[in-house]
Symmetry: C2
């Protein structure tokens, strides 16, 4: 296995990465073909598709403990399910799977701007496939424990004096990233300050109940 | 990378494999966990899901010629598109991606009966993930050259004296397999006899226009 591309994202760390693809549609990133795969003809015909599949490596995770069960955040982080019944990043072969929206194909640069990805900056990508509705889309499919544990977005407050560090599209993505509650499922300490690395800056915030407040930002 | 499971299918060869998952929903197969992954708890919680993702290896293909363009059967086998705009099996890292319907989870045997797969018998599987509608399903997504080249099923004639070699569920799957026209896209010789290996038997057929006729069957 050889990476065919690397992902570029404003998110360099695991903390804050959306829990699934599409959860933060405002978040933009770039797929850059590398090595012998960086040839414009490899992308020919892609302009007719809305979505892509990425098969990638959970490269920021260690090998885990080899356990075949995981504790999904959807279940509060306490209940164990089988790794093959979960999208957990702690899994055999560390393969990730994400459908992302194509925003722009940059043929000469051999790159694709996409939105909604849940990949960290620098993630190696092993395959890129077009999303084909008739074989990939199953509206109404039962989704186990995910069905009954829908995610409630947080209310996000970003003071103007901090918001001005970002351009408007960044602030939209940041707001949506924070609204998905990046904290581990089992943490609920209103005094704790968290730090999110985003677009070369470090954003500090705390969460009380359903409200998240950005407290400071470092460049 | 280490296989976590092997696939069991009535189709031992490339010829006749459905062109995508879901094209032959009558076709049943089995995912068998292997080695250290063959533990019932690895499947815990899967019973609530309708579909699975399989990430697998196009193990019956050679390494190809390293070309970054392919000729999809949808385009008549003549036009070239980029490998990353195609689901072609001739691709870097030979990774396949298929969503299959869960029919039965056999916990003690550490296996899952599924339908609609496009994997040959013996295919190594590198990951199994639950299908999660909110992140995986995109009804109405534009699908490039696939949109405008919808597939027309063949009319299939199986003489009664041949049909009796199969049980009713097999004959349904066989009929649907043949209707998707297993011939290479660029072949159209009404006299040519093709052989499809299916469920331990060899099924011979020919195709004239939109009609496929089974001519004989060997055990």
């Amino acid at each position: 296995m050889k990476p065919v591309a690397l992902f570029r994202s404003p998110l360099p760390e695991k903390f804050g990465i959306p829990r699934q693809a599409g959860v933060v549609p405002q978040l933009k990133g770039e797929i850059r073909l590398i090595g012998e795969f960086a040839q414009p003809q490899a992308l020919r015909g892609l302009e007719g598709f809305d979505y892509l599949w990425l098969i990638w490596e959970f490269s920021l995770n260690g090998d885990g403990d080899g356990s075949l069960t995981v504790r999904p955040p959807r279940l509060g982080g306490n209940e164990r399910v089988g790794v093959f019944a979960s999208r957990s990043p702690f899994r055999p072969n560390r393969l990730g799977l994400s459908s992302v929206r194509i925003e722009k194909i940059n043929t000469q640069e051999c790159s694709i701007t996409v939105s909604g990805a849940d990949l960290a900056d620098g993630t190696p990508i092993y395959d890129i496939k077009p999303y084909v509705e008739y074989t990939d889309s199953h509206p109404g499919a039962r989704c186990g424990f995910v069905d009954s544990n829908l995610w409630e977005p947080l209310e996000v407050a970003i003071p103007d004096c901090i918001a001005e560090y970002f351009d408007p599209s960044e602030i939209q993505a940041l707001r949506s990233l924070l609204a998905q509650d990046p904290r581990p499922a089992y943490q609920d300490d209103p005094e704790r300050i968290y730090g999110l690395a985003f677009g070369g800056r470090q954003v500090h915030f705390k969460v009380s109940g359903q409200k998240l407040t950005v407290t400071s930002c470092e460049i």
